[in-house]
Symmetry: C2
Subunit: 328 residues, 2 copies
Amino acid sequence: MEKIRIGIVGYGNIGRGVELAIARNEDMELKAVFTRRDPSSVKIHTEGAAVRRMDDMASMKDEIDVMVLCGGSATDLPVMGPEIAASFNTIDSFDTHARIPEYFGNVDKAAKEGGKISIISVGWDPGMFSLNRLYAESILPQGSTCTFWGKGVSQGHSDAIRRVKGVKNGIQYTVPIEAAVERVRSGSGPELTTREKHLRECYVVPEDGADLQAITKAIQTMPNYFDEYDTTVTFITEEELKEKHGKMPHGGFVIRSGETGEEGNRHIIEYSLKLDSNPEFTASVLICYARAAYRLAKAGQTGARTVFDIAPGLLSMKTPEELRAGLL
Amino acid sequence: MEKIRIGIVGYGNIGRGVELAIARNEDMELKAVFTRRDPSSVKIHTEGAAVRRMDDMASMKDEIDVMVLCGGSATDLPVMGPEIAASFNTIDSFDTHARIPEYFGNVDKAAKEGGKISIISVGWDPGMFSLNRLYAESILPQGSTCTFWGKGVSQGHSDAIRRVKGVKNGIQYTVPIEAAVERVRSGSGPELTTREKHLRECYVVPEDGADLQAITKAIQTMPNYFDEYDTTVTFITEEELKEKHGKMPHGGFVIRSGETGEEGNRHIIEYSLKLDSNPEFTASVLICYARAAYRLAKAGQTGARTVFDIAPGLLSMKTPEELRAGLL
């Protein structure tokens, strides 16, 4: 079998997850990892794959079918996305919801000019959760959709904690409030405030002699991040942090409640994820969309796409015949 | 707005559900219902829509964009599906899993020759459940998927009960066994037998003087339908049946448990439905796939498709721009 040749751009948590996911998909192989660091300092696990500098990409133009972009959405992808899309088929997990239309436009232009295909904002939210919002709303146009996240680690909120004065280290869990989930599941279509949907639990390692009350107050009143939530702050040691909070679990729920007919029959559609490792799961989604990008590129398609544009069958290793016979 | 003009073929539970679903989708209108019965005896609810004989279809060839075929899978669709696909774009809910490849082939040939598009096996299983099996397996190739149905009424099993000697009327509920669902959800990947996954609950109205023990035994030992399950038989009156068992609820779960990485991180993907009305929900799925068929036909595509081939964005009333800005 001819394998799909993957390149990874950026070797952080997601990049490593992509490498691990490739090893679990027999129709793919990792060709190279591109990094901003000194390549000799980056140890990857795949035999035979190269580690190269970011600016060495062009030299591998004919050896890579799809580049999986594993940079951050704040500053990396807005630049990197359109740039690389001009020369390679790409997949990314751009997740700044508000800037998706602008980002889509930039990538679309670059990919079309380069004759390449790019699937943006792939993962679980945006990604699988978006798909489920779309399917559920299309089936039940009259109704309401509610998304809950967690229990899981939010990188953005953990970073925000670590910027507070007196904080040495810390981690933040977003926790869906079970009573709110149950109210949505019951189909009563409740109007929920931000505070009613999620709790924020912070585990903080203080610096020696830090003012713990001041830290707690600074976190709980932080605008945009914590002030609209009920937030708990628990102080722990560096050892406890490593021991009990070293994993990156996550998950959540998309629940749509809607009605049909004249008598208002109610229906609940629920999609949920419970993930041991957020980056490994996200990487696994990226990799199956890389397969779709490969197939679309082979079919001569160009430009930007999102998960909404991708026929589900393109994600599978199986043939359309196998899918109809075995999974339909 | 130019509306999508829908025809309904067969006016049973699903056909009526499709009529109700059209009323809830403002970009659609019902043009005609085609029936085997005497059209003057069929009362529909949509003003301005026609009721015609099955063999009058050809006369409305230019007035209908998509025909929704609401016949049964056992005898109606295998004949009707390819026949109508030759002249109209069609949607159906063909659900005899084992015969899907053959049915697909016949419809594909007819639709291609007629220059039409047909989406087969649309609904929730096959349909939304199939999609979720596909997405989950593509993301987590190493793992196991388990589908549970219910609690809900099975028409096939209810019909089987009613054929038993001494039975005047009856209904059968398929009930997922909660302990089995929990074992699958826990991610332990259990091997479950048919008996461990579902119960079958039968509510039977006996004929006067019937042998109740004989009825119970006949049901519980019936091959293919009940012998592999724990089946309860409860005798009730015709009034009770009407009062307590007049609705057609259904639902179920598709749960995939799989692992990623080298340390075997576990992930659970779950999709569930809880439906007040099985036929109305199925009809709502059919209707949003009719929208996709309309768009594909406009784009000049022909032949048979399944839900696996349909890009999710095609199902929505919203434009791609609206979807990216609002749902991604």
